[in-house]
Amino acid sequence: MRGHVALCIAFAAGCGTRQATVRPLAAVEACPARTWLPLAELTPTEAAIPDLAEHGDVIVERVLVRGVVEPLATTLRGAVATRPGTPLHAAPLRDDLRSLWALGVVGDARVAVAGTTVIFEVTPRPTIARVVGQAVPELQRFAMLSGTPYEPARIARMAAAAELAYQRGGHLDARIAVTRAQDRGLELCVVAIPGPRVVIDALKFPGRKTVPEAALLAVIRGGAAFNHPGGVYDPGALEVDRVTVLLEELYERGLIEARIQPARAVRSGDRVTVSLPIEEGPVFRIGKVSGPDQLPTTIAPGDVFRRSQIIAAQGALQDVVGDRGTVLVRTQLDPNHALVDVELYVEEHP
């Protein structure tokens, strides 16, 4: 089982056959010798409600739940709307079956009518009978499925989460395959196929003119671990940085109309080159500066427009104003001349 890790959990027959919810792979050869099938959700039996025409106008006198033990039977009886005193109709019974399915404990359910008695015949969800061997931490969570109800949607979600864990480690092609078989109970085979570990060969910023590449690399999170040359590629984290710290770095250099396109990644084997195209636009400078008499001198016309300096000027003036009011900033953009007029003003407290 080179590169594969197999984990077996057990399964029972009698389930419906809706389409698979997890990709089956040819790698089932990594599982013990069984007939392995895709995971399939449980579906209701057809003709779950009998033809009620022969019963005429009936008022229900008794409601029973069969197929499960107490106290579950009482709970299920409480979950249906059909009660003694309600008329017998197909639509409410269909709603009741949906309610039973929604509770997630039935593997199948149908309705039988005997005179004025309505009987909900339910089959419990099959149990995952056995878990054998899990050799890697990423699959260890599946071990606890032993003895619990068979829930294909949950298993598929667990598989997706395990894939994500591999991908964060750089195994961008990682897949978790889950298949089922019947052998002395319900059996499930979980195979992890990590694929190669992909690292970043280069991180480029085409279109960059004035801002140094080193400055952009310095603000991207991850360091040697991810999103830097030699590290793994985490597209989600890089996207967050694109719209936060990278743009902020450009804004701090007066490039307030700059745009950074989403990352483009080009794979070559186990290497990837990542590009973040940049449109810098002009460098904006401060035009006019206006405000109260105690204007701080930290900003002046002609300075490169840096948000941090505007905030610092605001703070310095606030120290002077104190409790009397709040210092606010108003800006007026002149894109034709790449200028920003800045007005600092005080909103007096009542």
Binding site: V68, V69, P71, L72, T75, L76, G78, A79, A102, L103, G104, V105, P124, R125, T127, P137, R141, A143, M144, G147, T148, P149, E151, A153, R154, R157, A161, L164, A165, R168, R221, G222, G223, A224, A225, F226, D234, G236, A237, E239, V240, D241, T244, D323, T326, H349, P350
Partner: protein, 384 residues
């Protein structure tokens, strides 16, 4: 809340390998490895929470009992790792787990249990969340600033609900493996459901409806042998002295005075209206000013006083190993803060004697969902 915002800011200080004077565990560093980061992040979050927001319930015997019980459950679940269990001085019926293998259970949740098996079920549910790696993906994404499910809110809610169901089902497995009655999880859920009958199952709720949770654990219990222990006698002594509701020893309003029994100080407040929240924090409204009074461990208080927040001012008054921090905002806040700080005095013996918490009344039958609990029924007897 503001404390959590400060929590995020303080976390950045951890790179200095100390947090509030306490050294980080060995090997804790930002090495990018998920398992290591979980442990270290869990430790940091734990220290931040218990220093700035939560308080440990001062009952060492109960704390030891919960630790032994929780460890027993974890071992029965097949886990050999180290766990920490904390009983919090909070009247709400909640429990939660931290990725650093730290389980928190409020005294309010313990007050709703009636035997050791039910308490074991509560702890088993939280242990199950961690062992099933429910928060691992969310944490790993969040630690890189990615909220993968944040944009798909309905999906996130559905996954959160399934996590709760799975934790309930695994809790049944774990308590059975530990030798307890398999119906304990159902009884635990019914007890909590009686306190919050309308929680869960709504469009926005991350918890399923009680009916679904009860049905699921009943179905799970049906798969296992019955006859395990309940052991009410083991829990009863702890319940008998358990405080319920707000503890007046944390903070109490007595006429024009505010009493802080645990730290032994009192103050005569300025005119205005005062209130106390479940965490024992005092809020005073005076004209257009808002004043907060909070007790912190001394090593934390200096940070809050130095960083009171935008437009706020602060004063701090030492009180033994703790510090009372007075925060104020709005017009005239500075004068009110100074006046309050100047009025702090030692708690008088007669004032201390009046600070008697309410204890759990075990003689009253406990309501179980679908019946709704009445808080009055539970909080009846006062301490002698």
């Amino acid at each position: 809340m503001r404390a959590l915002a400060i929590l995020a800011a303080l976390a950045g200080c951890a790179h200095e390998q100390r947090l509030f004077g306490e050294k980080l565990p060995p090997g804790c560093a930002t090495d990018g490895k998920t398992a290591e980061s979980e442990r270290c992040t869990g430790w940091i979050l734990d220290r931040l929470m218990i220093k700035t927001h939560y308080h440990a319930y001062p009952d060492p015997e109960l704390a030891a009992y919960v630790t032994d019980l929780g460890t027993h459950i974890a071992r029965a679940a097949g886990d050999r790792g180290q766990w920490t269990f904390r009983v919090l001085d909070d009247p709400t019926a909640q429990a939660f787990v931290n990725l650093g293998r730290i389980v928190y259970v409020n005294r309010g949740a313990i007050a709703a249990m009636r035997d050791e098996a039910e308490l074991a079920a509560l702890l088993a549910h939280e242990i199950a969340h961690l062992l099933a790696a429910h928060e691992r993906e969310t944490f790993a994404e969040a630690s890189r600033g990615v909220t993968r499910w944040g944009d798909e809110h309905a999906l996130a809610v559905r996954y959160a609900r399934d996590d709760e169901i799975q934790a309930d089902e695994l809790a049944v497995k774990f308590v059975a493996a530990a030798g307890y009655d398999v119906t304990a999880v159902e009884r635990m859920l019914r007890a909590l459901g009686a306190l919050a009958p309308r929680s869960g199952g709504t469009e926005e709720s991350r918890h399923p409806a009680w009916t679904e949770r009860i049905a699921r654990v009943q179905a799970m219990a049906a798969r296992l042998p019955h006859g395990g222990a309940r052991n009410a006698a083991a829990l009863r002594p702890h319940l008998a002295r358990l405080v319920v509701g707000q503890d007046p020893r944390r903070a109490a309003i007595a006429g024009r005075s505010i009493l802080f029994g645990r730290v032994g100080i009192a103050l005569d407040r300025t005119p205005g209206s005062a209130s106390i929240d479940d965490d024992g924090n005092v809020a005073i409204s005076v004209d257009a000013a808002a004043i907060q009074l909070r007790v912190f461990p001394a090593e934390v208080a200096s940070y809050f006083a130095a960083h009171p927040g935008d437009g706020m001012i602060a004063a701090q008054i030492p009180a033994g190993a703790s510090t009372l921090v007075v925060l104020g905002a709005g017009p005239g806040a500075a004068a009110h803060v100074q006046r309050i700080a100047a009025s702090v005095r030692p708690l008088r013996p007669d004032e201390r004697a009046r600070l008697r918490p309410r204890l759990l009344d075990l003689s009253t039958p406990r309501p179980l969902w679908p019946a709704v609990a009445s808080i009055v029924m539970v909080e009846r007897r006062s301490a002698p």
